[in-house]
Each structure stands twice: as C-alpha cells, then as structure tokens.
Amino acid sequence: MTRWYRYASPGHAYRLAGRLIPWCAVPAAALFVVGLYLGLVVAPTDFQQGDAYRVLFIHVPAAWMGMLLYVLLAIYAGIGWVFHTRVSSMMASSLSITGTMFTAVALITGSLWGRPTWGTWWVWDARTTSTLILLFLYVGFISLQSAIDDPRRADRAAAVLALVGVVNVPIIYFSVQWWNTLHQGATIRVGGETTMAGSMLAPLLIMIAACWLYSVAVVLARLQTLIREREPLVAVTAVVK
C-alpha cells in the first residue's frame, strides 16, 4: 500500500504517466479503428432505426465516460483537498477537460440520433436533461478553477465545488426523473442491451474499451503538461532520471 504513496510526488507521477501513456494510447487507437470498422461497416442495419442507430457506438461510451469521469474527478479533488497532494488536484483538472468533452459529445451525438429517430433534435427526457446539467457542472468546475490565479487556492476551491456537485448529482437525477413523469408520459427509451444482437454488442464493447484507454492516455498526458507548467524543475529532473 505504501508503495502507492510515492506517486503523490509530482516526479514519480510524471514518470509513471510517461510509462503508461504509450501502453494506453496505442491500444486505444487500434481499438478505435477495429470498433469503428465493426460498428460502421460490419454490423447489420437495424430494421427499425435504419443506419441512424450506428451513432450509438460513439454515444453510449461517451455518455458513460462523461458520468464516470465526474465521479473520478470528485474523488481526486477530494483526495487532493484532504491530503494536500498536488498531483491529485492536477488529476482532477486533467479529468475535467476530458469529461466535458465526452459529455458534450454524448449530447451532440444524442441530438443527431434523435433527429431521424424521434423526429426532434432535443427532448426534455430525464437522461438528456441530467446529462445537460452534468455539462453545466463541468463548466462550473473549469470556470471556477480558471477564475482563481493562485493554483493551490484554485485546486481547493474547485474541490469544494466538485464534492458539493457529486453529492447533488443523484438528487438532481431523481428530481429530473420525477419532474419528467409529472409533466409528460414516458418517452421512448433506447432498447435494453439484452435485446442487442452480438454483432452490434461486440463493437459497442470495443468502443467502450477504446474510450477508457483514450481517457487514461489523454488525462495522463494532460497531467504531465500540468506538472511541466506548475513545477518545471520536477519535470526536468524526472526526465533526467
């Protein structure tokens, strides 16, 4: 267990990130190619939704990553706030950008899929609405951090916000769901995965793995950049060793 503590030091974290990035980036690229090929070319056309359903191979992984990265962000921000570990706070900032990107991709692809399938760009469905709110939470985190000049104060203030946000996420989710059932009948739902054919499920799983690996690689690369920016000396000596 104590072996892990040393990665709280920017130097060790910098080197670990450098070692891990190629191991994540290369498989991510390969899986993206395979997954997109299987998903866009090999997988059969859906008889109800036509080819539009293929958006799902990007949409589902993006939506999952968007939610998951916010929880991870809050965990790292919390660790950074409690233990005063700079690397954890830097991890939180790195995660915030990738998480925002994935949440935005989920919203955009969702609306591109909704147009041919539901006949509308936007539906105030519980999941759509809570994803939009998640995007607002990400934007709040990033803008608070960039509004404060002192990086340590920015880290701690953003950590408070992230923790308040993560406590609120379930409350927001349920309130939106109840609001939705109060105002309109049940909307169309995306078919459950159990009914999905294997030829469609395989590319989806590959794309999810690819998005995971991509996130790890990009977040670690951004972490390296942050360390270089905030602690240039540490980064230089880490490379020399």
């Binding site: 803008s143 608070l144 509004a147 109060l182």
Partner: protein, 227 residues
C-alpha cells in the same frame, strides 16, 4: 451552557445583517423591483392568453425569485470581506458554520418576508385562483432558504474574485434545479387540482439536507478563500 453563547452570537449576527440591510434599503428594494419586473415581462412576451399564463405562472415566479436571490448573494460575504469584518468573524471562538447560518438566516428574513407578501399579488397577475397563490407563497418561503444555503457556498467560493457575481450564478444554478422543480411542482400540482403535499415534503427534505451540508461546505470554502 455551551449552546447559549452560540445562540446569542447567531442573534447578534442576524440583527447586525438585518440592520445593515435596513440602512441601505434601496438595495433590497431594487432586488424586489427586479423580481416584479421580470415576472411582469412574461405576459408581454408570451401573450395575454390566460390559460397559458396560468400554466407558466409557477415556473415564472420561481425562476424570477431565484434570479433575484442570486443578485443579493454576491453581497452575502463581499461587504464584510472588503472591510475586514469577515476575517474577525472567522477568528471568533465559534465554528464558522454558525456565521454562515446566521448570514443566510438574515438574508432569508430580508428577502423571503417581502417576497411572501409579493408572491400572492404576482400570482393574481397571472390569474391564479383558489389555493394556488397560497401554495406558491408557501413553496417560496420553504424553498428560498435552500436556494440561499446553496448560494452561500458559491458566494464563499468566489469571494474576492473578478466577476464574482456572474461566476457565482454559473456555479450554483445547476445545484438549484431540484429545489426549482419541487417548488414549481407544488404550485403546479395545486393548479391542476391535485395535492401539493408530495412536492412540499420534498422541498422540506432538500432544505434539511442543505441545512446540514451547505453551511459546512460554505465554511470550508470561506477558509479556502481567506487563506
């Protein structure tokens, strides 16, 4: 024995903030006038159809109340921060959340009491009848403290920053959503002839949650901001 001086402290802090607001009452009045104006703009933009106005009234009044309360939020700590009072308050032998609670309570008194008097009038403007104006007022009185408590976290986080007012609203607006849904939902339920009890209970539940967590988060944020 220990609880007594704390209560005295809360009373003193609330009295001080209420007095300060009273001495500069034009600020508080401006907030309320803003609220009335925003609400009155809606019929002018969506048309005078009374059925449409009735159905949007709870949402409009709630959103306007939310915006008006955010206006006052940026001043929650900043005046005391500017003249150094806040630093002295944090040095008191009281937990910081007592200070936060007292400030929110004072804000609630100067904002929610006039709002409670105004809300039925605004409801009449939108043609609401029977119990609905009453339910709307009750939901505002019960929901505004939650809004102020959550807002106090945002105000504490952005203390002393450039563009603090707009940043505060950006940070706390997403967190207001549950309160907004339950508050407007209560009035909406009563509008449709149903019982607002479920939504009022949920409003009460969010208030209790906010009372437990928000002062604690706001005091942590104040300590970060005042380092």
């Amino acid at each position: 024995m220990k609880a007594l001086p704390r209560l005295g402290m809360v009373r003193w802090l609330v009295w001080r903030d209420v007095t300060l607001t009273w001495r500069r009452r034009s600020d508080a009045v401006a907030t309320l006038v803003f609220l009335v104006m925003v609400v009155s703009l809606f019929p002018l933009t969506v048309g005078p159809d009374s059925r449409l106005l009735q159905s949007i009234a709870p949402g409009v009044v709630w959103v306007a109340a939310l915006l008006a309360s955010t206006m006052g939020l940026s001043r929650l700590f900043s005046d005391d921060y500017a003249d150094g009072t806040l630093e002295q308050l944090l040095l008191l032998p009281q937990p910081v959340y007592v200070v936060v609670l007292a400030k929110v309570l004072a804000q609630w008194i100067v904002f929610a009491v006039p709002l409670a008097a105004l809300a039925p009038v605004l409801a009449l403007q939108f043609g609401l009848s029977h119990d609905t104006p009453l339910v709307l007022t009750a939901s505002l009185v019960l929901g505004i403290p939650t809004i102020l408590l959550i807002g106090s976290v945002g105000a504490a986080l952005t203390l002393g920053l450039r563009g603090a007012a707009s940043l505060t609203s950006l940070l706390v607006m997403p967190l207001y959503i549950p309160t907004l849904i339950f508050g407007a939902g209560a009035a909406h339920a009563s509008l449709g002839g149903g019982s607002p009890a479920a939504n009022m209970r949920l409003l009460g539940a969010t208030l209790i949650l906010a009372l437990v967590f928000a002062p604690w988060a706001a005091s942590a944020a104040l300590k970060v901001s005042l380092e």
